[in-house]
Symmetry: C2
Subunit: 194 residues, 2 copies
């Protein structure tokens, strides 16, 4: 019987993360990553266009998970219910067993400004794509943009809390708590004429 082995992509990802974390992102080459799991540099580049892609591999999948959440919501769901459905998809995407991987990944990103910018850019792409999905569901402006940007903000803050040391709540539980904080915060905003 053949013992189950994670796919080549996953092995390369895990190896890259270890090397980035221990030797530094800049100092690690694609060839070293491949070598550390007994593969060639050429194999590495069949799976990832560059070293940075190893860290941002899941981005498209995360965006699709959010869109799947929206698609599964009832036809007549109001904007913030669509947003809640999108946020709910993060729960499957970041199960508890992925938390250590996400923590290690974050330590790598925190050490490099270009990676931090890419990470921020990721959130703005998530917001833009979600906004498109809400407009396609008939949500008018500016509600679609406001709801989508708020969802990305809530997700970003919740994700940061989820990977904090000692945190053990699920990302969904944290998202709901952050959304409630946002609601309470905005509820007291002065919006009269200045």
């Amino acid at each position: 019987m053949v013992r189950w082995q994670p796919g080549t992509s996953e092995r390369l990802q895990a190896a890259a993360l270890e090397l980035f974390a221990s030797n530094g992102y800049e100092q690690t080459t694609a060839a070293e990553i491949a070598q550390s799991v007994g593969l060639t540099e050429r194999t590495f580049f069949r799976h990832f266009s560059d070293k940075r892609e190893v860290l941002f591999h899941g981005q498209q999948l995360l965006v699709e998970a959010f869109l799947g959440g929206v698609a599964a919501a009832p036809d007549d769901a109001p904007p913030m219910e669509l947003v809640a459905a999108a946020l709910g998809a993060a729960e499957e995407f970041f199960p508890a067993e992925r938390r250590d991987h996400s923590r290690l990944r974050q330590t790598v990103i925190d050490q490099n400004q270009a990676l931090q910018e890419r990470e921020r850019h990721k959130l703005s792409v998530l917001a833009a794509t979600l906004g498109d999905a809400l407009r396609a569901r008939g949500v008018a402006e500016p509600a679609a943009t406001l709801a989508a940007e708020s969802a990305a903000t809530v997700f970003g803050v919740a994700f940061t809390q989820w990977i904090a040391p000692g945190e053990d709540r699920s990302i969904g539980e944290i998202e709901r708590s952050v959304l409630a904080e946002l609601r309470d915060l905005i509820a007291v905003a002065p919006v009269g004429n200045a």
Copy 2:
């Protein structure tokens, strides 16, 4: 008597915008911009590090205006009052006479994906800087990040409305209306346990 003339930077900016809008951003060179107002390419590069900088020249000033708004708020102002103070600073930064310039600039940015990304990046820098200012004023997390990101969202949506064809409300008035819409939207968000 010497007639007042706008500074060299302003003349280069206005000329660049006209050329970008009529001939295309990609097709316009720094030398052509300089030439069109009787200056040399060398003078252009004393004022702007590259062609793109002409379009993003005011970014640091906008961020400073937002921070100035926060600094001027009373010591005991709650987070969303600090945010309202920051948003209020946009009113002086974008007076009615600047609207046509901003509209023309947007047509240039809309034609180029890299410029659109830079513009989105600008908003995330604004949010990050505002978050730092709120934390420095003692606002705790996640309120500081939520308030700062919401301010950037409201500003972004309000700015888009401000430059829309036929719009004649001030940016401050629009911001207050967008903030009220955000509040009403989030107020009905489902935040119970899923």
